[in-house]
Amino acid sequence: MQITCRINNREFIREIEPDLLLIDFVRSLGFKSVKRGCDTSNCGLCTVWVDEKPVLSCSVLAARVNHRIVTTLEGLEEEAKAVGRFLAKEGAEQCGFCSPGLIMNILAMKKEFKTPTTDDIKQYLAGNLCRCSGYESQLRAIEKYFDLEGKNQ
């Protein structure tokens, strides 16, 4: 089947198998920031946006993004770098495998919350697993990031 969609502001028209998953579709197009960390829709590493909403690309059929807008980390370079700096400063990037998915979800959260509480953050990001950091350093980084963003607004 043929699908047409916009990924990171570029139009793609491709012939795909009906059971192709979005994660494998975007990776095949070179968007390698999108990673697979589990088999059970549970880790959040594969987070991308479809029509601006964060979803698990491992659990979406590519056929379902026909005529829709997909965003991966590659499409949000500047914003991602800003978040990345906070993570690095708190020592929250260890192996870094979880970062692309985490950053995509932090940036999605920023669109819904201006000044999130610690509980808001924990809740919004509960579906992003990290096997290295123990989450404390991530949480510090994210709180500082939102503090600064709040002041800039």
Partner: protein, 254 residues
Amino acid sequence: MVQSLDEAYELLAQDRNNVILGGLLWIKMGRKQYQTGIDLSGLGLNAISETEDSIHIGCMTTLRQMEISPLLLQWFGPLFSDAFKGIVGVQFRNLATLGGSVYSRFGFSDVITALTALDTQVRLYRAGVVTLSKFLNMDQKRDILEKVIIKKQVTQTSFQTLRKSATDFSILSVATSLCKGNWKIAAGARPSMAILAENAAGLLSPEPDEKTIKAALDRVVNELSFGTDQRAGAGYRKLLAGVLVKRGIEAICR
């Protein structure tokens, strides 16, 4: 993607290996191979709307949509946001559909527990409109769940659950509601599916004193059955039921 429910049902009836696609999250976990996936995305069934006396939620509505819906909040308080917030993560709940969550009739379902504490019906393509509890106990004929219909009446609610970690399955979930002086107490993940503790709820007055609450709690644990699975034993669940129902009632009375 089908153009109508008639077409969807025709496809479903054609081959046992054809399947309705909700958010795909559960389907994807299995090893079963399917022939044709039937996508209802194009039928406008992904919205929450209201009529004179009820709220209609299409089967393709996501759990996240329900969780942040001002309309649901206005009538039923934070029931759905409290019930759904522990289901994996936001990205997951942007995909998981109401139809897939109800039709799969999981014992552990927080979704079904929450809906059980309200006056809820489901509309099926073949069987028509039936109450949620009738649907849950029906023979599992292949059908399509078109939408969920909830009676529109201001209801005070509380959702209580215990999980081993923030996003694990509930060991036990309890939804409590008070509407026009009538209480409902629904318990799910017992580990079997949610049901109402009708006798216990019947003991409660609109503003129960401590003695009445105690009597209702005793009734709950005798009235409902609890089982054992890898998450917890029946005895533990029974103790937990008393605690969660008490918290639920108190949250509403406060």
